[in-house]
């Protein structure tokens, strides 16, 4: 089985998957008396596309928010790069190399597409407040360097034509793409996508799927995503975690998960005796 091999595995299409990058151990998250997540463990391996699926209210987004530091679980441990992560603020998580997108797009509406994507590189900019004022030249050189990286991402995601447009004016599908671009700009080790294809039409979904695969392929970025569209998930991901009512009911390759009776029951409902 997969977990038995600490060195990783090779996927059906021949990609090499590495060791464990992130591991969730017995995570439990409560909001007051409501348990959003109950005792869930799973891992994410380097270079893999890992999906978290489940019916509405299963706790998928909560799980993503635990990984990105927006929620702090009451129980359980988060391990990243082989080290236990102390409870930290979302911005500290971001600085560790975990970037994310949101279910209900969170972009800076007043800023241009280019500026939005540039914010993704903020954590990588070194020049401080005072040196920026004193050595204008050095700050400019750094800015240019970051601009080049950002331009490459803009080319990659095919959004050249809207670089200067304020984000607030863009249609939904493009906003989603800009959000992905901003997350990519941080050159993350782990990219979290919260329903990247929600509310898209078939064509936009195909585009987005292609981008996700390309990102993984070209930059070798590890991706964890949440998605409702089962077809998309099964095509994209290497391994799938299935959640229902805050519990893990399945974990494995898409084929294994598809054959899992508990998963079928959760999605289609169980016959009552």
């Amino acid at each position: 089985m997969l977990d038995a091999n600490p060195e990783g595995y090779t996927t059906a299409d021949g990609r090499k998957i590495g060791g464990v990058l992130m591991e969730m151990r017995n995570i439990t998250l409560r909001f007051g008396g409501v348990k959003a997540i109950t005792d869930i463990s799973f891992d994410i391996r380097e270079g893999e596309i890992r999906a978290i699926i489940g019916p509405n209210g299963a706790g998928k987004s909560s799980m993503l928010n635990v990984i990105s530091g927006f929620y702090v679980p009451q129980e359980g441990e988060v391990w990243f790069h082989g080290q236990r992560r102390a409870p930290m603020k979302p911005y500290e998580v971001a600085r560790q190399g975990i970037a994310r997108t949101f279910q209900n797009i969170a972009l800076f509406d007043g800023m241009s597409v280019l500026d939005n994507i540039m914010t993704g590189r903020l954590t990588m900019m070194k020049t401080g407040l005072f040196s920026q004022a004193l050595w204008w030249g050095r700050a400019q050189a750094e800015e240019t360097e970051h601009r080049e990286k950002v331009e490459r991402i803009i080319d990659f995601l095919e959004i050249q034509s809207i670089r200067k447009t304020p984000v607030g004016r863009l249609p939904y599908g493009l906003k989603k793409r800009v959000e992905l671009a901003r997350a990519l700009a941080a050159e993350p080790k782990l990219l979290l996508l919260d329903e990247p294809m929600a509310g898209m039409n078939v064509e936009e979904k195909e585009d987005m799927s292609r981008f996700i695969l390309d990102v993984n392929d070209e930059f070798g970025t590890t991706i964890a995503l949440i998605e409702h569209d089962m077809g998309v998930v099964m095509d994209l991901s290497d391994r799938v975690v299935v959640m229902d009512y805050g519990k893990k009911i399945g974990d494995g390759t898409p084929d294994e998960v598809r054959a899992n009776q508990a998963v079928i029951d959760a999605y289609l409902g169980v016959a009552h005796d």
Binding site: A106, M118, T119, L122, Q132
Partner: protein
């Protein structure tokens, strides 16, 4: 060139209005900065200007802070260190005090009120205003002080001569207002450069736009708040110097905040250019209204004109000239 007297007087009034409008804009700027970045209407902005002015004068004259408290100890009688500090150094020191204040405000107030509705934060700034007012009095004494940092005052001879040569009538313009205009222009240019082209400026705009998204790209909200309040403190210091030099450093200085309110309603709460344009419109409007309508109603229209104008705006264009219109999607 020969122009009728009435036109010349109106021009003079308009010019003076323009320049005093800059002074209003200086105060409004501080409000806009904080409101944009954190959605807080900082009621204490005017008191911050007063506090900055008091501190500046106190440092400059070598006053012992909390002298009245210290003198309560029997046998102790201190008032002054007996030295005077050069203006530039005193301004830098006061700037540092304002940064320290931003740190304290973040640690004691803002940090504990994260995710509270804006009205709660607004109430907190009202508390802050009263606290600062008392602190200023306790630290530096409640007597009226004069601000003297070497700014030129009185009638500008150049403008008098030039206009005399052109129109045969010399305009009266206060030099202090000209200085204030230059300072405000430099300040706004610096703020614009900072927010458009620096890393922190971009982070600041990001926070102003969406807190959650800002967190997700690795921006620390607390750092940005300290930064914003420091900048607002610095703007308050500049406003405090200008207004202090104009009308003395005393409690009523904090009331300039009231003049900033109509400016904000005109310009919009979220726009730096709006604060400037709003200030100018109110400055000119006030003077011209007093010039033309004042005599018909017995004068003193400056006291209420700005507020009536703001009221009209509230009815017909509540987001102001440059503010963001909030459209709720149904």
């Amino acid at each position: 060139m020969v122009l009728p007297d009435q036109v010349l007087f109106a021009m003079e009034a308009a010019l003076n209005g323009l320049l005093s409008g800059v002074m209003y804009a200086l105060v409004a700027l501080g409000f806009v900065l904080i409101f944009k970045a954190s959605g807080i209407f900082n009621y204490a902005q005017g008191v911050m200007a007063l506090f900055a002015a008091l501190t500046l004068v106190g440092i400059q004259q070598g006053q012992v802070p909390f002298a009245d408290l210290i003198n309560l100890i029997p046998g102790v009688e201190v008032h002054s260190f007996g030295w005077t500090v050069p203006s530039v150094l005193a301004i830098v020191l006061t700037g540092l005090v304002m940064i320290g204040m931003a740190l304290i405000i973040e640690a004691l107030i803002l940090k504990h009120l994260v995710n509270q509705p804006p009205i709660i934060l607004f109430m907190a700034t009202i508390g802050l205003a009263y606290f600062l007012e008392g602190l200023g009095d306790t630290m530096w004494g409640a007597d009226i002080k004069t601000m003297d940092v070497g700014l030129p005052q009185g009638m500008s001879g150049t403008i008098d001569n030039v206009t005399n040569a052109w129109f045969g009538y010399g305009f009266y313009v206060d030099q202090l207002n000209i200085v204030a205009t230059v300072v405000a222009a430099v300040l706004v240019a610096l703020l614009m450069l900072f927010s458009q082209y620096s890393k922190q400026g971009r982070a600041l705009r990001a926070v102003a736009d969406d807190h959650q998204a800002a967190l997700s790209v690795g921006i620390s909200l607390r750092f940005i708040w300290v930064l914003v309040w420091s900048i607002a403190g610095f703007v308050a210091l500049v406003a405090g110097i200008m207004w202090g030099a104009r009308s003395g450093v005393q409690f009523s200085l904090s009331l300039i905040a009231l003049k900033a309110l109509p400016v904000l309603m005109l310009g919009g709460f979220t726009s730096i250019p709006g604060a400037i344009v709003g200030g100018l419109i109110i400055g000119i409007g006030e003077q011209l209204f007093e010039f033309w309508v004042g005599p018909l109603v017995g004068g003193a229209t400056e006291n209420w004109f700005a507020y009536v104008l703001a009221l009209v705006f509230l009815v017909f264009r509540p987001q102001g000239l440059f503010g963001e219109k909030i459209i709720e999607r149904v």
